[in-house]
């Protein structure tokens, strides 16, 4: 603790503050309205945060013309799957899901294996070149990702990888943030634990898999959720590197649909496209939402375990 609490000079203490000290804070009469106020404030804010997503999920089931003529109304008898049917007929969303799943599994595995392993070396070994390498990692953390898009695209062309899974999987598979975060976490693992394993005859790689990984599991779960989220949501690089219909990921399919909306600004067409758009947006966000709600404890605890301390 860096701050020491200076006691108030006795003379300035009024009778009221002394009374406050003896009274348990939770029954203080002033506390009750404040607690109700906080609760109301949080509730309203939470509803505001949920409203757009809930609105989209519900509106996708409304007839397309009603979405734009009466955006706030809800006629339960008129609910329909038309938007979904049209969307499935118009865009290759099934293929999009498949491509996203392939990229998610391969790229996710690479990230979750390579990043902690390299971070372990950075955190627990001394070797020539370590600081230079880690410094380079920190610099790339500052660089806008769009900067790398041109040279990466040229590289993909030279390798003949445009519109392939390699192009979607390998660039960005181990990003600087994952290394930075994992190094922070592994540095907190006590050295004694690693040395004890070494004395017991555990090999260097065994120490990583049997000691380090189990100890950092909460942060690893956080990294897993964050990685899945980033891969699932990524769209700038996939649009540039693999936009063919066969290779399009879910987000690429979604963004091509979005481009239609600017072209159809009037009348019934606008309504149709809006309906399809909301159906596609709903179907894209629901899987991630389910994963997130199922794993939210791990995710939140993981971030809490991994971020900087106050």
């Amino acid at each position: 603790m860096t701050t020491t609490h200076a006691p108030t000079p006795a003379g300035t203490r009024s009778a009221r503050t002394r009374a406050a000290a003896t009274r348990p804070p939770r029954t203080s009469p002033r506390g009750l309205p404040a607690a109700v106020g906080s609760q109301v404030f949080l509730l309203l804010l939470a509803l505001a945060f949920l409203a757009p997503v809930v609105w989209a999920l519900i509106s996708a089931f409304k007839p397309a013309t009603q979405i734009i003529s009466d955006p706030l109304g809800l006629d339960l008898t008129a609910l329909t799957l038309d938007n979904y049917r049209r969307m499935f007929a118009d865009v290759p969303i099934g293929q999009g899901f498949l491509n996203t799943a392939v990229v998610l599994v391969t790229k996710g595995t690479i990230t979750l294996f390579c990043a902690p392993l390299a971070a372990y070396a950075f955190a627990k070994y001394r070797f020539p070149g370590r600081d230079l390498l880690f410094g380079t990692v920190l610099i790339t953390l500052m660089l806008p990702t769009i900067v790398l898009i041109i040279p990466l695209l040229l590289e993909m062309k030279a390798l003949g990888w445009v519109n392939t899974y390699q192009a979607l999987v390998l660039p960005g598979a181990v990003d600087a943030f994952a290394i930075f975060w994992m190094r922070q976490v592994i540095a907190d693992v006590p050295d004694e634990l690693l040395d004890a394993a070494r004395v017991d005859g555990c090999g260097e790689f065994g120490i990583f898999t049997r000691i380090v990984l189990p100890v950092i599991r909460p942060a690893l779960a956080g990294l897993a959720v964050l990685t899945v989220m980033n891969i699932y949501n990524d769209f700038v690089w996939p649009v540039v590197a693999a936009s063919s219909e066969r290779m399009a990921t879910l987000q690429v399919v979604l963004s091509t649909l979005a481009q239609n909306i600017t072209g159809n600004r009037v009348g019934a067409d606008y309504a149709t496209v809006t309906g399809e758009l909301l159906a596609a947006a709903s179907i894209a966000l629901v899987p991630l939402l389910i994963v997130f709600i199922a794993l939210q404890r791990h995710f939140i605890n993981g971030i809490l375990a991994g971020s900087v301390k106050g």
């Binding site: 701050t3 002394r18 406050a20 000290a21 607690a35 906080s38 404030f41 949080l42 804010l45 939470a46 945060f49 757009p52 997503v53 979405i67 734009i68 003529s69 955006p71 706030l72 390579c114 990043a115 070396a121 370590r130 790339t140 500052m142 660089l143 806008p144 990702t145 769009i146 900067v147 790398l148 898009i149 041109i150 040279p151 598979a173 181990v174 005859g201 090999g203 260097e204 790689f205 990583f208 949501n233 769209f235 700038v236 987000q251 979604l254 963004s255 909306i261 758009l277 909301l278 596609a280 947006a281 894209a284 966000l285 997130f292 939210q296 939140i300 809490l304 971020s307 301390k309 106050g310």
Partner: protein, 303 residues
């Protein structure tokens, strides 16, 4: 040397010669990362750096032009305009986010509040929702003629607002999208800072008669200063690199009012002027690094 069989070990498994000596291990461990990192980060980064000193339109030989791209940009109105837009967005986003994030985190850290896990999920829902989906919802909800927000305004007798079609409203609407999308994450980061504060400090303050507001200013804020600084730097990076949000929602319009620094950089690329685009990105890195250092300094010297 651990390579040799340990003498005098009578108990347990006999120690074998490890297949991975301790001196070699770190190199093996960083190898997969280094291979990917060099091929897909370092090499493109160096390529871009070299590109920024050339005039190259994507084919043929690149012509070396020295600092020309940089001096062109530094005298260019659009470049400064894009930085100005990003700075304006920063002002609309970061202070609001820090205050709101801290307020929500402090409330959620209070055991008396019920439904805390519901709130944590609710605030993080926008953060986990795919940006492309979010942006499309935003376009539809804030549509001038058919959007839900204007319908709400009409209900209470207010006229339609051109949320995304007028230059005075487009920027705040974009800022609102960003706030909505990322504040939940900031709340969680700040919560981690709050949870590392010893509860005893508050008890001592309460005994000394410090009010809740006083405790917030005199204890909470100073003790989570590092976490606050981390959030500010993180969001500064994000705001100045912001690309996808304006790209999908407004495409920089109307009248370039939402052409952020990140989006402007991309415009050079789509025009095929790759050298200028590369120079623009390094200027942006300098700006972002400068700002980050400034905040770190500012928040350090405050005690």
């Amino acid at each position: 040397m651990s390579v040799l069989v340990a003498p005098g070990r009578s108990r347990g498994r006999p120690m074998l010669r490890p297949w991975l000596p301790r001196k070699v291990a770190p190199y093996v461990f960083v190898l997969p990362f280094v291979a990917l990192f060099v091929a897909f980060s370092v090499y493109p980064m160096l390529f871009t750096l070299r590109l920024s000193f050339t005039d190259w339109r994507g084919s043929g030989a690149a012509r070396w032009v020295g600092w020309d791209n940089y001096t062109y940009l530094l005298g260019n109105e659009m470049f400064w305009g894009s930085l100005g837009n990003s700075a304006a967005l920063w002002l609309m986003i970061v202070p609001v986010q820090v205050v709101l994030g801290l307020l929500v985190a402090v409330l959620l850290n209070n055991a008396k509040i019920c439904m805390r896990s519901f709130y944590r999920i609710a605030f993080l829902v926008p953060f986990v929702t795919p940006l492309v989906a979010v942006a499309q919802i935003w376009v539809v909800v804030f549509d001038q003629d058919y959007g839900a927000v204007n319908s709400l305004l009409n209900l209470v007798g207010l006229p339609d607002v051109g949320w995304l079609t007028t230059s005075e409203f487009a920027k705040p609407t974009l800022a609102l999208l960003f706030l909505w999308k990322t504040t939940g994450f900031i709340v969680i980061i700040l919560l981690s800072g709050l949870q590392s504060i010893d509860a005893g400090v508050y008890e001592a303050a309460a005994i000394d008669g410090a009010s809740r507001t006083r405790q917030l200013w005199s204890i909470t804020v100073p003790l989570v200063r590092r976490t606050l600084m981390f959030s500010v730097v993180l969001q500064t990076l994000a705001v100045f690199q912001m690309f996808a949000e304006p790209f999908v929602v407004t495409d920089g319009g109307p009248y370039n009012s939402t052409t952020t620094a990140g989006l402007h950089l991309y415009e050079h690329i789509t025009r095929g002027d790759l050298g200028t685009g590369a120079a623009n990105s390094f200027l942006l890195v300098v700006v972002v690094m400068g700002l980050s250092l400034l905040f770190v300094r500012f928040l350090r010297t405050e005690d």
